[in-house]
């Protein structure tokens, strides 16, 4: 099939075309450009929810229960579940679906597992593009699961409208975990596995910390106790997502947030391209080698070397 034919089927709502198009983007095939141009004009309708938190905290289970609940309000839901690729074999074992069995036969639910393939930000490389594709396909809600981040991978919050951070009693070391970057990106905090010992303590610690950190903020992130396996607390989670959505809308923040993300992406891509162009220049490469020697022989300082290189930049086409 040609890309035109795939896109036509995609427009008709054909799941297999959707799936094939995701594969093309995920693998960076030549046709990607044409597809992204098509997709880019059709995004912006879906509401995007991100779920992050330590591995094994119950993210996939929560997503299954949440999606099931959301089905009573929304017909079309897309789920992207990221899992790590092995740094040794480059293979991956994608197991998030094990917890999502109850969704497999739901019409309107589309689940795609993605391996990180070396990406280090807790998401797969093309997660954003795949979310855009699901959006253009007509999914009303898109839920994205990270690989189960530790502390620094906060990229997810730039990709979604509402970020949910999941903790569990055994995420351990109480406060230490809470102090890490994750407490700064959450719009909603969940203490899952609240059937386990220590959940109450974590809940109050988290609540205190959030109240302090968000004193001057208009949005006060709620903290919720859940038991995903027992379908407990999911109603409240859904309610808080809707609250956060309303907050964003009422304060005109949704568009602002999304525009910020566009700016970020543009800056990132622009900078990457510039670097690529610079390093492709023979003149820059040559001068760089010369500067290395001069600095090494202590003829000039690093700063002077940089100045020399910058002067060369204007000759780069």
């Amino acid at each position: 099939m040609t890309i035109k034919e795939y896109l036509k089927k995609f427009e008709e709502g054909d799941e297999r075309a959707l799936s094939k198009i995701i594969t093309i983007i995920e693998n960076g095939y030549e046709e990607s450009k044409e597809i992204l141009e098509y997709i880019g004009k059709r995004t912006g309708k879906a509401y995007r929810i991100g779920i992050t938190g330590p591995q094994g905290s119950g993210k996939s289970t929560l997503i299954a229960k949440l999606a099931k609940r959301l089905l009573s309000k929304f017909k079309e839901i897309g789920i992207i579940a990221c899992d790590p690729s092995s740094p040794f074999s480059f293979g991956a074992l994608l197991g998030d679906r094990i917890r999502m069995n109850e969704l497999f036969l739901e019409k309107g639910i589309f689940i795609r597992s993605m391996a990180t393939r070396g990406s280090l930000n807790g998401l797969a490389y093309k997660t954003k593009e795949v979310a855009d594709i699901l959006d253009a396909f007509g999914k009303e809600i898109i839920i994205i699961e990270t690989i189960g981040v530790g502390q620094v991978e906060v990229e997810i919050s730039n990709l979604v409208d509402t970020t949910i951070v999941v903790f569990v009693p055994e995420s351990g070391d109480g406060i230490q975990v809470l102090k890490a970057g994750l407490t700064e990106i959450g719009d909603i905090f969940v203490v899952n596995k609240s059937d386990r010992i220590g959940a109450d303590i974590l809940f109050y610690e988290l609540k205190n910390l959030i109240e302090m950190s968000y004193q001057n903020s208009k949005w006060k992130p709620p903290v919720i106790l859940t038991q995903a396996v027992n379908n407990y607390g999911i109603e409240e989670l859904e309610k808080e997502i809707i609250n956060h959505y309303n907050y964003l809308i009422e304060n005109n923040l949704l568009e602002e947030k999304r525009k910020k993300a566009v700016i970020r992406e543009l800056v990132n891509n622009f900078e990457n391209e510039i670097l690529k162009i610079l390093w492709q220049s023979e003149r820059v490469k040559k001068l760089f080698e010369k500067v290395v020697e001069e600095v090494w022989e202590k003829k000039i300082t690093i700063e002077e070397g940089v100045k020399k290189l910058i002067k060369e930049v204007k000759y780069v086409k």
């Binding site: 799941e15 297999r16 799936s19 094939k20 995701i22 594969t23 693998n27 960076g28 095939y29 030549e30 690729s85 092995s86 040794f88 074999s89 480059f90 293979g91 991956a92 074992l93 994608l94 197991g95 679906r97 094990i98 069995n101 497999f104 036969l105 589309f110 689940i111 795609r112 597992s113 391996a115 393939r117």
Partner: protein, 136 residues
């Protein structure tokens, strides 16, 4: 440009709990560099085919030790055909008597592996499959 990654769905249909083989194979194929999706126990043919389509896998591998192979394999084949997804290769392993294997091969099922199979044999089979596919 990135090379095509081979994606494999390892599915464990049926009501029994014999998932050791499926897990061993899933992990082994991951370690051999494939992207493997494992969906857990009790998968119906509909669940398997839906998953295969959404994940756009190249191969489905079924693990069946319960004796239900003569109903499950044909049903998965039928659903693949119904959904126009016959390009997805179907194979598997478990406890499957030789005479049943023959019948399943006739229907178009790929190789069926016995207990005691080494992962390297499975990897070799998949790699050969793809050599053929690419050169077609």
């Amino acid at each position: 440009m990135e090379k095509k990654k081979i994606k494999i769905l390892i599915a464990k249909p049926g009501l029994d709990g014999h998932d050791r083989g499926a897990k061993v194979v899933a992990r082994g194929l991951r370690d051999a560099g494939f992207e493997v999706i494992y969906t857990g126990l009790h998968q119906t043919p509909e669940m398997i085919v839906n998953t295969a389509i959404q994940e756009d896998v190249d191969i489905i591998g079924l693990s069946i030790l319960s004796g239900a192979h003569m109903t499950i394999f044909p049903e998965v084949l039928r659903l693949l055909k119904e959904k126009g997804a016959t390009d997805i290769h179907l194979f598997g392993g478990g406890i499957i008597p030789d005479e049943d294997k023959e019948k399943l091969y006739q229907m178009g099922v790929g190789k069926l592996f016995d207990p005691g199979t080494k992962i390297s044999e499975i990897v070799e089979y998949i790699n050969n499959l793809f050599k053929e596919k690419v050169s077609e």
